[in-house]
Point group: C2
Chain length 412, copies 2
């Protein structure tokens, strides 16, 4: 079923992931769908842990998303249970039963409320989750909990990711150094699985849930929401941030302004962007990581939309796969974004060379450096709209035969 | 440069195209980019011909689009000049000069005003159009004009289309039978060309320009705007409708309501849908034509948007290429459309078999007939949202290795 995929040429090695105070992790092979690998992950958080979450905008989300959204209202968490191999999406009443039973069993073992247990599932859609296998693995998971198992957890949540993804930052908060650590999965896929992006982050900072939620929302907007692989949105996309409160820093009030945690927010954004780019680097069939800098738009939001129109254009992405600096297709993508743009003030550059400027080809434009740049693994596209001061950067990958191979395969 | 592409397996033969009173056509090989084929087309219309047009929504359109939009204000036409091989897009002042010079030269030969000459170009972007070659070919084009050359014209406007596209309808109007005939090109592409959709339609009906424009707008909304190959929008998309007024039917006033030309509008819509589906059948790398019927949405507009979200989803399109009835990906696409939808009222069927209904797999669902249907050339997907009475049908093609081959090729 899970045909072994070649490891992405854009791989970055997972960094050292030392413990985060108040966090213990474990994985087990529950045999939910995959054989011979871990597929179930338990992360336990110290009492008093607060939580924030951002979820898919899909109007047809999976049962675990519904569960997490409801649980989030309490703002407290003691555990996260993740399974790979079955997304528990479009499973009707059985899906609801599965999340209730899993949360109840975990809560009983940990001595907490079911509402303190967060859940995420990734894998095949439309098949009932054999949750008894998951709950049967809980004692083993509990026994295996250790602060040192971040790498195991990063592997346990993978579906057809070709490498495990993790990142870690430290930052000063209220006079003390705190740690933020996270893992992510996506955007590999096995037919008929859905590419789902899951990201779980923990910090030893002590932050009230509203402060945490505001920080997470802003950080996701500036990271995951600036990346795309193929414009499709999973029914299960999830980013959860847990704050164990073990660090001994000055108290942060629930109504503290964003500026009170500016450094923390910046570090969190940086960490999420790191993880988001790891996901793009492992995009289905990706051979090149593409950065698109849009400047001169009428607003930052307009720049973001123009950037995403370029990043999601199949014609732009196939041209990049072909190592062709086809700026005509970039003009096309700008034109279809629906945002203010003017052909005659538009400039387009690749790898630091401006190719087209103010409505025409740059006179005497030398294709040499551009051709060389396009052969690399990391491609930089610059688009200046020439109308205002709005700017945004987004990232994508190229569209290759590998994408068709992975996503056009028969289910088997 | 133009690597010969295999003819689409979804080809439909071009029908017989007898003359339309008041229309003469000619083609020539002007050597604009291609060698050994016709690349320039002149269509001459009788004095008194009215015209309507619908153009790309791109905010970075080509110079011929600007020209046509301005010329359309007069509502009159005597000629159409089309070249293949160069799109005259992103060519700055040179592009404006090219359209002015071509229109002036044509007008002088025909004894009309430049504003009566309509222009369309398709091909490479960002290279100045060598319009002298086009104007040099005008005398040959003029000499070659004949009412019998519709097939030649259908071939002359092709870029990497793998078959010529035409359609013809007759309909009663004001007590007389009138003819509507049209040709189209798209959506093949050669690197670095842009897939451009061009469609030119002529009728012998005598219709004031406002009536014609309203009819064309409605017909395009119900045909071309319901189809997609890859979600990208060309800078040159053009549909022009010319009415020569040679048919001797009852007079239609300029302020006649749509109902006065109901039959004509229906025939026009049917013809444009025929041409639009021919374009999808010739989509880059297309192996399957896909029809998506959305019912039960809150409004028709909502149904249309949901249909287009499915039709543009790379994950749905690659699954179809793999002959995999992956309804999980259809759920995903419905969920990301941003339109009202409810997982628990959603039903999905393929080839007449409902696979998923009301939030779960249909009990005892037999995959056999669905698997057989997916192996065919024409795929039917039905999605019932279960919320209202809005419905819409859209068409697309699958996403295959052929698409990557065609669009990822180096420029050379």
């Amino acid at each position: 079923m899970a045909k072994a995929l070649p490891v992405s040429p854009l791989l970055v090695p997972i960094p050292e992931m030392p413990p985060v105070a108040g966090v213990r992790l474990a994985t087990a092979a529950a045999g939910i769908r995959y054989q011979g690998r871990t597929d179930s992950t338990l992360i336990e958080f110290a009492p008093g842990t607060t939580v924030a979450g951002v979820f898919t905008r899909s109007l047809c989300p999976g049962a675990p998303i519904d569960w997490c959204r409801a649980a989030l209202k309490n703002g407290k968490a003691r555990a996260l249970v993740v399974n790979a191999g079955n997304a528990n999406v479009f499973t009707g009443r059985a899906g609801v039963e599965a999340v209730k039973a899993t949360a109840a069993a975990t809560a009983e073992l940990l001595g907490c409320k079911p509402r303190d247990v967060f859940l995420a599932s990734t894998g095949v859609i439309g098949e009932p989750l054999p949750y008894e296998r998951l709950t049967a693995a809980l004692p083993e998971l509990l026994a295996g909990l250790s602060p040192d198992r971040w790498h195991d957890a990063a592997r346990g949540i993978m579906t057809t990711d070709t490498f495990p993804k993790g990142a870690r930052r430290t930052v000063m908060l209220g006079g003390t150094e705190v740690t933020i650590a996270g893992i992510a999965k996506g955007s590999g896929m096995i037919a008929p699985d859905m590419a789902t992006m899951l990201c779980f982050v923990a910090t030893d900072a002590k932050l009230p849930a509203p402060v945490l939620q505001a920080a997470l929302k802003a950080a996701v907007d500036a990271s995951f929401n600036r990346t795309t692989v193929d414009s499709d949105t999973s029914t299960s996309d999830t980013v959860l941030l847990f704050a164990t409160g073990q660090a001994k820093h000055d108290r942060i009030a629930a109504d503290a302004p964003g500026s009170a945690v500016r450094g923390f927010r910046a570090a969190l954004t940086d960490l999420l962007l790191d993880l988001a780019l790891q996901v793009v680097r492992d995009g289905e069939g990706a051979q090149k990581l593409v950065r698109i800098d849009v400047t001169g738009a009428v607003t930052a939001k307009s720049a973001h939309r123009i950037g995403m129109a370029i990043a999601n254009s199949p014609l732009v992405k196939t041209a990049i796969a072909g190592e062709d600096a086809n700026w005509g297709r970039i003009v096309m993508a700008v034109g279809k974004a629906g945002e203010p743009a003017d052909r005659d003030t538009l400039s387009i550059g690749v790898g630091g060379t401006w190719m087209a400027r103010e409505g025409g080809v740059v006179p005497g434009y030398d294709e040499g450096p551009v051709v060389a740049h396009m052969k690399g693994r990391e491609i930089e596209i610059a688009v200046d709209i020439g109308l205002g001061k709005g700017k945004a950067t987004v990232w994508t990958c190229d569209l290759t035969h590998g994408y068709i191979d992975i996503n056009g395969a028969y289910r088997s």
